[in-house]
């Protein structure tokens, strides 16, 4: 597989894993947020509904209380008593003590003439006959006014009670302290954005709102949008902020209590939760992405390594298959060559025999004949050796297991080659581990292996160099490495060096069977042979021999 295909595989893994991880994560996050915000919203609505109801009740109670007190007074005193300023003052002080929030108290006769007054303004003697509320109270007997400015030119509202005394009527009228009343209304407002105020049927402010507008100003509340009980509206202002407005008509049906609040303020903690959730999801996402990328990269690299190893194994398998097939063929060929070689050798021998006859002795060229025949014999011998090596090897293919001291075998091999090496000024250096155990193997075959590799190393160097022979114990093998500082094996030759008849030596100097036989012997012994070569630096052969204990042979 090429690099780009591994990259593509990695990408597919990452995308699939991320999709599978993120889809439920985001879905869960979204659903949770939606549910929580819905719950929050319901809670906020409930809160504001409760607030407007309870506050409306409070205001109703406040008005009812004041109305009741005034009615009780009006019902128990006579006109003559109440127009006495002293009595009126005492009554005023008494009701302020008991209930409070009264600014002034006045008595008006049926002609609208203000007959008695207690309070901060100078209103005595004014005639109210033309005031709108005067008609109302004369008709209904009880009247709570809207806020108006009236004679005192200051916004206020009054409670007026008509008393029927014999044939005459008189009116007890009190002004409610607008500040106290406004404070009661405003107590329903909460937080930084909350507001609470009253509007009348025309939508005019009856108390001063917290934001935008003053008393008696036109509010943006449309009273018709508020029904019988409690109504909650949501509006979005120009800044895009959501604002909840709850309205409830007071019992007198003339005033509408409005409590409003920005949703965002109450939703603040929800927003905090949402931000926390987003942060957790973000962190989780980063973790997932990192983990996915790292593990995928790791897995793909493992896969790549495994593939590479498998390819290598396949190549080795191919190599050994190839060598086995070549070996069979070579052995077959060898058999067929031996017979003609035998004939050639006999024929040359016969010719030599004949040359000894007298007739031929006189020939001028007899020496030439003799030399030529010798040459033929030499080359038959050369061919015979090749074939012999192959057949000899074939005969020896079944290894004989015996106790083998690998170090001893190496030493013997080195001593065999020492002279040859010295002649070429090549040092043979042995660095043998003292821990090499005796193993069950085939000594003569191992010797053949070492002999082939070391003599190849010497031949590769040519003159002046170093061949190092090392032995070491591994977990399950004994490793023998043979390194030379020769010219190295050219890359294009590296894949053929174990092939039979492959040689780089001069014609006639090498059969090209050495490494092939070596390879086959090591395979048969259950070991392995490999090499590493760098042009200009040298070659290292590593032979791994299975560490079979002598008892298991």
């Amino acid at each position: 597989m090429t690099d780009s295909r591994y990259k593509k595989l990695q990408r597919i893994y990452v995308v699939v894993i991320l999709l599978v991880s993120f889809t439920p994560l985001f879905l869960l996050g979204g659903i949770m947020y939606y549910q929580v915000s819905k719950t929050y919203r319901t809670k906020i609505e409930e809160q504001i509904r409760y607030r407007v109801i309870s506050q409306a009740d409070t205001i109703d109670l406040f008005l009812k209380e004041r109305t009741a007190i005034l009615a009780a007074i009006a019902d128990t005193v006579s006109f003559n008593q109440i127009i006495n300023e002293k009595t009126l003052l005492k009554t005023f002080e008494l009701i302020n003590l008991r209930a409070g929030a009264f600014v002034d108290l006045g008595v008006i006769d049926q002609t609208g003439q203000h007959r008695a007054y207690v309070g901060p303004y100078d209103l005595k003697g004014l005639n109210y006959y033309n005031q709108p509320w005067f008609g109302e109270v004369m008709a209904k007997g009880l009247y709570v006014s809207d806020v108006f400015t009236g004679f005192r030119a200051f916004p206020h509202f009054i409670i007026a009670i008509r008393r029927q005394e014999d044939k005459n009527s008189w009116i007890l009228r009190a002004t409610i302290d607008p500040d106290i009343f406004a404070a009661i209304v405003r107590s329903a407002q909460i937080g930084k954005t909350g507001d609470a105020f009253l509007v009348n049927k025309e939508g005019l402010f009856q108390t001063t709102p917290r934001f935008s507008g003053g008393i008696l100003g036109k509010s943006d509340i449309d009273p018709t949008a508020y029904g019988g009980l409690t109504t909650i509206n949501e509006e979005i202002n120009s800044k895009g902020e959501k604002r909840l407005t709850a309205g409830r008509w007071l019992k007198n049906k003339t005033w509408l209590l409005i409590v409003s609040q920005d949703v965002s303020e109450e939703m603040g903690s929800l927003l905090k939760t949402r931000n926390q959730e987003i942060a957790i999801i973000l962190m989780g996402s980063i973790l997932i992405i990192l983990t996915t990328v790292i593990t995928t990269r790791y897995t793909v690299s493992k896969l790549k390594n495994a593939d590479a190893r498998m390819n290598e194994l396949n190549a080795q398998l191919l190599q050994s298959d190839k060598l086995a097939a070549l070996g069979k063929m070579a052995a077959g060929v060898a058999h067929e060559i031996n017979n003609p070689l035998a004939v050639i050798l006999q024929k040359t021998g016969w010719m030599e025999d004949l040359l000894e006859d007298e007739a031929f002795q006189k020939s001028k060229e007899i020496e030439e004949y003799r030399v030529s025949l010798k040459k033929i014999e030499e080359h038959v011998e050369r061919a015979r050796k090749v074939v012999h090596n192959m057949l000899g090897f074939a005969r020896k293919m079944e290894p004989r297991l015996e106790d083998v001291d690998v170090n001893q075998t190496l030493k013997q091999t080195i001593s065999l080659l020492e002279n040859y090496a010295r002649l070429n000024n090549i040092e043979l250096r042995a660095m043998l581990s003292a821990d090499i155990p005796i193993i069950a193997s085939d000594q003569s075959q191992l010797q053949q292996v070492f002999l082939n590799i070391i003599s190849n190393a010497i031949d590769a160097i040519g003159r002046d160099g170093l061949v190092e022979v090392k032995s070491a114990v591994n977990h399950s093998t004994i490793d023998v490495t043979i390194s030379d500082n020769g010219p190295g094996i050219p890359e294009e030759q590296q894949k053929s060096i174990f092939d039979p008849f492959f040689t780089t030596k001069q014609t006639g100097k090498g059969t090209g069977l050495g490494l092939w036989i070596t390879y086959n012997i090591i395979e048969k012994l259950g070991g392995s042979i490999s090499f590493h070569s760098e042009t200009g630096k040298g070659t290292t052969f590593t032979v791994k021999i299975p560490k079979v204990p002598p008892t298991e042979k």
């Binding site: 058999h335 067929e336 060559i337 031996n338 017979n339 070689l341 035998a342 004939v343 050639i344 050798l345 006999q346 024929k347 021998g349 016969w350 025999d353 014999e377 038959v380 015979r384 012999h388 057949l391 000899g392 074939a394 005969r395 079944e398």
Partner: protein, 149 residues
């Protein structure tokens, strides 16, 4: 070297004729045949000292088979197996059947003749032993005859 009677068996005519000629030239009594069957016919008619036998021969009888049959007729004759085929099985089989040696082609005459001589020596000493044993037997038997009541 004593004169010894030799038979060469090989299906390769060029090899057979040349080898026989060269042996004759060295005053060795040599004959050649091209198959195991022919060899068997000759063995039935004439005594040999040494037989040089190829193993792989086309036709009915190969060298190993011929060796087995010849040994039945002339147990004392020494057979040298000479083959272009080196196989462990055939060599073991041959040695088991009493072959003197197992040699690989091509072989120089200078190497072959000493082997033949060794084989001849062995055959001679073998015959000598048998003869001695027989003489001893003969010498003992009249006594035994006499001793018997």
């Amino acid at each position: 070297m004593d004169q010894f009677r030799t038979l060469v068996v090989d299906d390769e005519e060029d090899f057979l004729v040349t080898l026989v000629n060269r042996l004759k030239k060295r005053d060795i009594d040599a004959a050649g045949v091209k198959s195991g069957e022919e060899a068997l016919d000759l063995v039935k008619k004439k005594l040999y000292d040494v037989i040089i036998m190829d193993i792989k021969m086309p036709g009915g009888m190969d060298g190993i088979e011929a060796l087995r049959e010849i040994k039945k007729i002339q147990p004392l004759v020494e057979v040298i197996l000479l083959t272009g085929h080196g196989s462990v099985e055939s060599s073991i089989e041959g040695m088991k059947l009493g072959a003197f040696d197992y040699l690989m082609k091509p072989i120089k005459l200078e190497e072959l003749i000493p082997k033949m001589a060794e084989a001849f020596e062995k055959k001679n000493s073998h015959e000598q032993k048998i003869r001695t044993a027989r003489i001893k037997e003969l010498m003992r038997s009249p006594l035994r005859v006499l001793n018997e009541p």
